[in-house]
């Protein structure tokens, strides 16, 4: 990535980051579409021998041998038996039966997490700079589990099984599959074992936002990552024949449009199909679009494919307009023809012009890369949202990180659009998704791990969460691009990751496997379900009162039952990982009808690893007309602030 290190404060605070030799002991396993080992981001210059604990391997297959690995890319395996059992033998003329990445996604995520420094990186000159992963000295192990036909759970489980054997320290998984209960979800099951072995599992939250309750990867032993923007944009203006201009974004590079205005047409008026406005394949009438710029509505098919459809029909360019589903979120694409994406409001204004002017004309002005865009970050519209549909008492997502227009390494086997007709080849590509935010957190978790080798996955996640920020520098709340309004913990969890602060959080909320077993007891899991999840017999103590509210999670999700008790109590335990000190608490509630009290309100830590418990009582006075409400709880010693988001709902 060429911007996120600076955006996250990593470059200014190099001296505070863990020593390179410590970071190089950490291995990040990435379950994805494989790896393009020739990427300069896997240059191993300056790295010492692979960690002695490493047991992984580089597997041989189509166009891939063990010599493709080095001291940076220390492991590469592929898992296709489940895929082939379901869909038949892999067609090796179409995809590599090896760890080689034919797609680009896996190379992008792995280089985001731990790519080496590469100077003069860009995509067609866009987003220029020195590209690097978050943990530049960490090692990468690629586990290919996703194929043209999808990612199958039998393969995912096999890869996680092997990654645990191999001794990875962090697992990065930018994939998901609906919302199965934890004991049926292979990712959750595999992550439980990984967690027990001290491996932090970071997963993407999903791209089903802004719909509420749209999150994947909800198990509390997983770190669930949503997406926000950077302070970078790629403006490409729409200039209409009536003199009005509208902002858009694009990564197009190629032949320019003529300097004169070009005839402009709405795709819905250039098609006999009822969905012609979407520029689906084969729906545009060439005689109507030839030589014109076409306005297509976003949705259903891939954005870049719409451009390809316009190009194939003889169109000169494309304006891609968001609909209500995407609002004002602008995602830039490396289109095959001159094209730009505009928000819903601009799209509607442009359509008004198109429908009112008998001879509409337009041109697109490409402005390159702009940095310093404010406000940033804003929560991406596509980022999946809470509340947690499986366990409302656990707030998800946990955190957000950059996931919009991220530049990182790419496969040499496919063009930047991923379309088969795209014959361009690039070393770096710019793409968006919670797939992109997840490996940011994986890499940052590796940095925290390197600085604190003895910390558990829960302690590392706690450090990342309790130091995250939820407001801009001047104090205004982070915004949600889907609404233009302040975002909530259902959108950003604990907030936006702040890695330098996470290296020294002061206190952490720690958790061990036993705590999660108590949690599933509180969920009333059967012995058989617990055994499936935890691989051992664990009997919930019938004399013990288990509560979901007692899981030592770094955030609070309070569920009041309508018409029942209006008092909910949560307990937590803080572990001192800093110097001795006295922490005082403050708790705020947006909703005046919800009172929050903390007992005790002060915690004195006299030594490292000392643990102190506290209880929070949430009291709803009167019936709330609001269905969701939010708050914040902070412990501070004047040097550290250990913050937790609070989400309150009435069921």
């Amino acid at each position: 990535t060429t911007r996120t290190p600076e955006f996250l404060g990593l470059e200014k605070s190099e001296s505070m980051s863990p020593e390179a030799n410590l970071a190089s002991e950490v291995v990040i396993g990435v379950l994805d579409t494989g790896v393009w080992p020739e990427s300069k981001s896997f240059d191993d210059s300056g790295l010492g021998p692979v960690p002695s604990s490493w047991k992984g391997a580089c597997e041989t297959g189509t166009n891939f041998t063990s010599s493709n690995c080095n001291r940076k890319l220390i492991g590469a395996r592929y898992f296709s038996k489940g895929y082939e059992a379901a869909l038949g033998p892999i067609d090796e003329s179409k995809e590599s039966k090896s760890p080689r990445d034919d797609d680009g996604h896996g190379t992008h995520t792995s280089t985001t997490a731990a790519g080496s420094l590469v100077g003069e990186a860009s995509l067609f000159g866009y987003a220029p700079g020195t590209a690097r992963g978050m943990a530049t000295h960490a090692r990468v192990a690629a586990y290919k589990v996703c194929w043209v036909g999808g990612c199958f759970s039998s393969d995912i489980l096999a890869a996680m099984d092997k990654a645990i054997d191999d001794n990875v320290n962090v697992l990065s998984m930018s994939l998901g599959g609906g919302m199965p209960d934890y004991f049926k979800d292979s990712v959750a099951i595999g992550a439980f074992s990984a967690m027990e072995k001290g491996i932090l599992v970071s997963c993407s939250a999903g791209n089903a936002g802004p719909t509420p309750s749209s999150l994947s990867n909800l198990a509390p032993w997983i770190t669930t990552v949503g997406a926000g923007t950077l302070d970078r944009d790629f403006p490409a203006y729409v200039s209409l024949g009536n003199g009005k201009n509208y902002s858009g974004v694009s990564l197009y590079r190629g032949n320019s449009l003529p300097e004169t205005l070009t005839p402009f047409i709405y795709a819905g008026n250039a098609s006999n199909s009822t969905s012609g406005n979407l520029c689906m394949m084969g729906t545009l009438a060439p005689e109507k679009v030839a030589g014109k710029i076409v306005l297509c509505d976003r949705g259903v098919n891939a954005r870049v494919q719409k451009g390809a459809v316009v190009k194939e029909a003889g169109g000169a360019g494309m304006v891609l307009a968001n609909t209500a589903a995407n609002g004002e979120e602008l995602v830039a694409d490396a289109h095959l023809l001159p094209a730009t994406s505009v928000g819903e409001r601009s799209g509607n204004a442009i359509k008004n012009y198109l429908f009112s002017d008998p001879k509409p004309t337009v041109t697109i002005l490409f402005e390159g890369t702009k940095i310093g865009v404010q406000p940033s970050p804003v929560i991406a519209a596509f980022s999946s949202r809470g509340p947690n549909s499986i366990t409302p008492e656990i707030l998800k997502p946990d955190i957000i990180a950059p996931g919009v227009n991220i530049l990182a390494g790419w496969s040499g086997g496919v063009g930047p659009t991923g379309l088969s007709i795209d014959t361009r080849r690039v070393a770096f590509n710019i793409i968006s998704g919670t797939s992109m935010s997840c490996p940011h957190v994986s890499g940052l978790a590796a940095l925290v791990k390197a600085a604190h080798l003895d910390w558990s996955p829960a302690a590392i996640r706690s450090a990342l969460m309790t130091t995250a920020y939820t407001a801009y520098k001047k104090g205004e709340s982070l915004l949600d691009v889907a609404t233009g309004k302040p975002a909530t913990p259902y959108d950003y969890g604990a907030g936006h990751v702040n890695p330098i602060a996470a290296l020294n959080p002061g206190l952490v909320y720690d958790l061990a496997a036993e705590d999660y077993l108590n949690f599933v007891c509180a969920l009333n899991y059967t012995e058989s379900q617990i055994n499936s999840l935890a691989r051992r017999k664990f009997t919930c103590d019938t004399s013990k009162k288990y509560s979901l509210n007692d899981l030592n999670y770094p955030s609070f999700s309070v569920v009041f039952s309508s018409g029942r008790s209006s008092v909910v109590k949560h307990t937590r335990t803080l572990t001192n990982v800093g110097s001795p000190g006295t922490y005082k608490v403050s708790a705020t509630s947006e909703n005046p009808s919800v009172k929050i009290s903390v007992e005790p309100d002060s915690l004195n830590f006299s030594e490292t690893n000392e643990k102190k418990a506290y209880a929070v009582t949430f009291t709803a006075t009167g019936s709330s007309s609001i269905m969701d409400s939010f708050g914040r709880l902070e412990w501070t010693d004047g040097k550290h602030t250990v913050a937790s988001p609070i989400a309150i709902t009435w069921s």
Binding site: D32, T33, K81, G82, A85, A86, H105, C146, G150, C151, F152, S153, S154, I156, L157, A158, M160, D161, I164, D165, S174, L175, G176, G177, G178, P180, F183, K184, D185, S186, V187, I189, G190, S193, A194, K197, S204, A205, G206, N207, S216, G433, T434, S435, C438, S528, Q529, N531, S532, R535, R536, K537
Partner: protein, 82 residues
């Protein structure tokens, strides 16, 4: 189609493995063979679960689920990149 096979993840209760088996993989194999002569294991898992994946008909899956030592027989899920 009753003969249509799908992939299942079979979770075994390792603590219930009969003493007659020297290795858990033999027990997995025996359990599978008790419901299907032709089904083969796709993977056996050691760390993430105690169990294996295989292709079964719906009837075989149901039958396997009722065998001793079987915790669950779960249909495979497909995941997608985000």
């Amino acid at each position: 189609d009753a003969h249509q096979r799908s992939t299942y993840i079979v979770h075994m209760a390792k603590s219930e493995m009969p003493a007659s088996f020297e290795h858990h993989s033999h027990w997995y194999d025996s359990s599978l063979k008790s419901v299907s002569d032709t089904a083969e294991m796709i993977y056996t898992y050691d760390n993430v679960i105690h169990g294996f994946s295989t292709r079964l008909t719906a009837e075989e899956a149901l039958l396997l689920g009722s065998q001793p030592g079987i915790l669950s027989v779960l249909p495979e899920l497909t995941y997608e990149l985000h």
